[in-house]
């Protein structure tokens, strides 16, 4: 039986809350592809122009892009790792 898609929790997000993690994965993947691609292209350009067609700038730049994507992904999963965010210790709340 097809489950009805329930109304969203907030009007800005058309997905319900249990799909948050999946959405984050999707975004991370997209980020990875985009940033690695950008890094790859920058690496190719740099390699051709500056580094006399060697292989390592391409790999390096792609790695930069992938690393940036990984860092963004990490930050989206763990908001405590965003620069400047400090998590204050709160007393444990009682469950209902």
């Amino acid at each position: 039986m097809a489950s009805l898609t329930p109304t969203p929790a907030s009007p800005s997000k058309p997905t319900s809350s249990e799909d948050i993690v999946a959405q984050k994965y999707d975004r991370c993947l997209a980020d990875l592809l985009v940033k690695s691609g950008i890094g790859f292209s920058v690496g190719v350009v740099a390699s051709v122009i500056l580094f006399r067609r060697r292989a390592w700038p391409i790999a390096l730049s792609t790695g930069f892009g992938a690393g940036a994507a990984y860092a963004d992904c990490d930050r989206s999963f763990n908001p405590a790792r965003i620069a400047g965010v400090r998590v204050l210790q709160q007393p444990p709340q009682e469950s209902k």
């Binding site: 039986m1 489950s3 009805l4 329930p6 109304t7 969203p8 929790a9 319900s16 809350s17 249990e18 799909d19 948050i20 993690v21 999946a22 984050k24 994965y25 991370c28 006399r52 990984y70 992904c73 990490d74 989206s76 999963f77 763990n78 405590a80 790792r81 998590v87 709340q93 469950s95 209902k96």
Partner: protein, 671 residues
């Protein structure tokens, strides 16, 4: 080791289809070197390799630990990571803290390096036998200046210039000071010019006392005293001041005469004397034949000094003539005439004086007469004024008396008037009171009569009215009972309608049914039900409807539970992408639990919730799922909101249900 970097050379081959191929070649010697070394050390290769490995490992480990320690001191997150995850790290950190590595900066490093290098340099030079100069100058003797020596050179040059400036300043200061002293000395020297005379005099006196001849010293010697000596002499100025005053009378003869006029009260400077006062004219000897005029006017000397002066001049003339006796005889006649004239002048003076005196007396008498007349006039005027004032006072007094009498009479009349007014008022009030009394008495009589009447003919009408009223009440009661019944029925119907809407198989808004229900329930005075319905009405649930239970359960089973179980192994805080991916992967390998399993972890909670949902116990399921926290809770938010909404609506409806039951029971009981 001598060739640290391999030198590469480019060789460009000929163009080939637009491509420039760059090839690299190393030196032939290097390849031979490597081949040579490789040929020489095949047996030692393993041990050399091993030592190389060991050395590199040791170096890398040390660098890692030390660098990690420094990084830890500067970066707190790395510090926590370093301390917890690497063995032996805390001891390294402790060592670093003890030695103050956490307060090290780049400048400290550079300064220490510089000091070390310079110390080593100087030590080496000392050992080699070169003379080591003081650290302040450090002037290099070697012709090849290094950077440090250049610095030192500049430093010494600056130092020397500063010293020179300092000495110049000092010299200038000393000169200025000398000049100032000189100017003061010159001023003082001028003031005490005379004290040189004092010195001479003192010396003179001493010489006289000692009986030696005194050689007057030239004034040139005195002026050649140096300015340095001027100052001690200045000190002595005050001392010799009293000395010359005492020395003056001891002088044998005054040498200098001070002819310039002196200011008042001042003495001539020491060594000088006042010029002798002009000599008074000597009187003629009494044995001269020439008559003297002066004795003739002696008696007038006090009042007419002019005459005496004239007489004196004539006497002097006579004395002069005495010197030439030849002309004396001729002059005698003239002198006689002069003498007679003078005496005549004196008499005429006296006469004039007497005349003046008499005139003055006359004028004084006249004035006294005038003034006495004036006095009499004034007296009469004063007397007249006094009399007029007396009459004025008397008339004023009469007027005052009359005024007082009239005022008193007026006051009496006023008093009389007020008293009569008060009495009138009182009379009026009494009259009115009597009138009211009479009226009351009449009304009472009328009432009594009416009562009698009523008792008789109107009694029956009263009965009828009472009966009617009773009937009315009964009818009203019946109608209220019927109304209540209707209302309870309406309430029940509305409640059933809302229930139907809530329990529908699809989600349906029930705003209209809720409105009807509220309307039905509002007429009853039940605060709890009213509050519950108000809360329900205020939310958005009636507009969008609530999820049917079946939908919730299926939703949970199909999408929520798998998503949550995939996130089950993620830690509550500090969960990055790797933790999520690990949880995703590992949850695929967990055992699936079912039924009422005890436990606090996510999977057990999910299993319990699923069990409750199968039993159609939404409340327990929601309660279980609410106990989760962290990422799982975030994923469950939507489902929990929907479930909560449904539970709220259900609870409100239960309240209204209870209330409706109660009211129907009351109605049934009340009748």
């Amino acid at each position: 080791m001598f060739r640290a970097l391999p030198v590469s050379r480019q060789a460009v081959s000929k163009r080939n289809g637009g491509l420039v191929r760059i090839s690299r070649r190393r030196f032939v010697t290097e390849t031979t070197d490597t081949t040579a070394t490789s040929s020489v050390t095949p047996p030692k290769k393993s041990s050399y390799f091993l030592t190389k490995v060991i050395v590199y490992t040791a170096a890398a480990t040390t660098t890692f630990y030390v660098g990690g320690a420094f990084l830890a001191f500067n970066n707190p997150s790395y510090h926590s990571f370093y301390q917890q995850n690497i063995p032996l790290a805390p001891s390294v950190l402790q060592y670093g803290e003890d030695h103050g590595w956490d307060s090290l900066t780049i400048t400290d490093v550079i300064v220490n390096a510089y000091d070390g290098v310079s110390g080593a340099y100087s030590f080496v030079r000392k050992q080699l036998g070169y003379s080591v100069e003081e650290p302040s100058t450090k002037v290099p003797s070697k012709p090849k200046p290094t950077i440090e020596n250049r610095e030192n050179e500049a430093k010494t040059r600056v130092q020397r210039a500063v010293d020179r400036l300092k000495t110049d300043v000092k010299v200038e200061g000393k000169k200025a000071h000398d000049q100032g002293v000189k100017a003061a000395a010159i001023a003082r020297h001028q003031a005490i010019q005379f004290t040189e005379g004092v010195e001479e005099l003192v010396l003179e006196a001493e010489a006289a006392l000692m009986g030696k001849p005194f050689k007057k010293s030239s004034p040139v010697e005195a002026t050649t005293t140096t300015p340095d000596q001027a100052t001690p002499v200045a000190l002595e100025v005050s001392e010799p001041q009293p000395a010359p005053v005492g020395a003056e009378p001891a002088e044998p003869a005054p040498k200098n005469v001070y002819n310039v006029p002196l200011p008042l009260g001042h003495e001539p400077p020491p060594g000088f004397t006042r010029p002798a006062p002009p000599k008074p004219p000597k009187p003629l000897a009494p044995g001269e034949p020439l008559p003297l005029v002066a004795p003739a006017v002696e008696e007038l000397r006090s009042s007419e000094p002019v005459l005496t002066h004239l007489a004196q001049t004539i006497d002097s003339l006579a004395s002069f003539l005495n010197a030439n006796p030849a002309a004396a005889n001729k002059a005698r006649g003239v002198l006689d005439v002069a003498k007679n004239d003078l005496s005549g002048l004196a008499h005429s003076f006296e006469r004039l004086r007497e005349e003046e005196r008499s005139k003055l007396e006359q004028s004084l008498d006249e004035q006294t007469r005038e003034y006495t007349l004036k006095l009499l006039e004034l007296e009469l005027q004063a007397q007249d004024k006094l009399e007029s004032q007396e009459t004025d006072f008397r008339s004023f007094y009469e007027e005052e008396k009359a005024r007082f009498a009239s005022a008193y009479r007026e006051k009496l009349e006023q008093e009389l008037r007020t008293q009569s007014g008060i009495i009138n008022e009182r009379l009026k009030e009494e009259v009115i009171a009597q009138g009211i009394e009479l009226q009351r008495r009449w009304i009472r009589e009328i009432k009594v009569r009416i009562e009698e009447e009523r008792g008789g003919r109107l009694a029956k009408l009263d009965e009828l009215a009472a009966n009617l009223k009773r009937l009315e009440r009964v009818a009203l009661d019946n109608s209220t009972y019927l109304d209540e019944n209707l209302r309870v029925h309406a309430l029940w119907s509305a409640l059933r309608a809302v229930h139907g809407a809530v329990d529908a198989p699809t989600r349906r808004p029930f705003r209209d049914e809720l409105r009807v229900l509220r309307h039905a329930a509002a007429t009853r005075d039940d605060a709890v039900a009213g509050a519950a319905l108000d809360a329900l009405d205020a939310g958005s649930a009636p507009d969008v409807g609530v999820e049917p239970l079946a939908d919730l359960a299926s939703w949970f089973a199909t999408s929520v539970a798998p998503a949550v179980s995939r996130v089950a192994l993620v830690p509550d805080e500090g969960a990055g992408v790797l933790a999520h991916v690990a949880s995703h992967v590992l949850s695929a390998f967990t055992f699936r639990r079912q039924g009422l399993v005890p436990g606090d972890d996510v999977l057990s909670v999910l299993a319990r919730a699923e069990y409750y949902l199968n039993e159609k116990d939404l409340e327990s399921a929601t309660r279980e799922l609410n106990q989760l926290h962290g990422t799982a809770k975030t994923l469950l938010k939507d489902w929990l909101d929907a479930a909560r909404r449904r539970l709220e609506v259900q609870q409100a409806l239960e309240v209204v249900h209870a209330h409706a039951t109660l009211s129907s029971l009351l109605v049934a009981q009340g009748h």
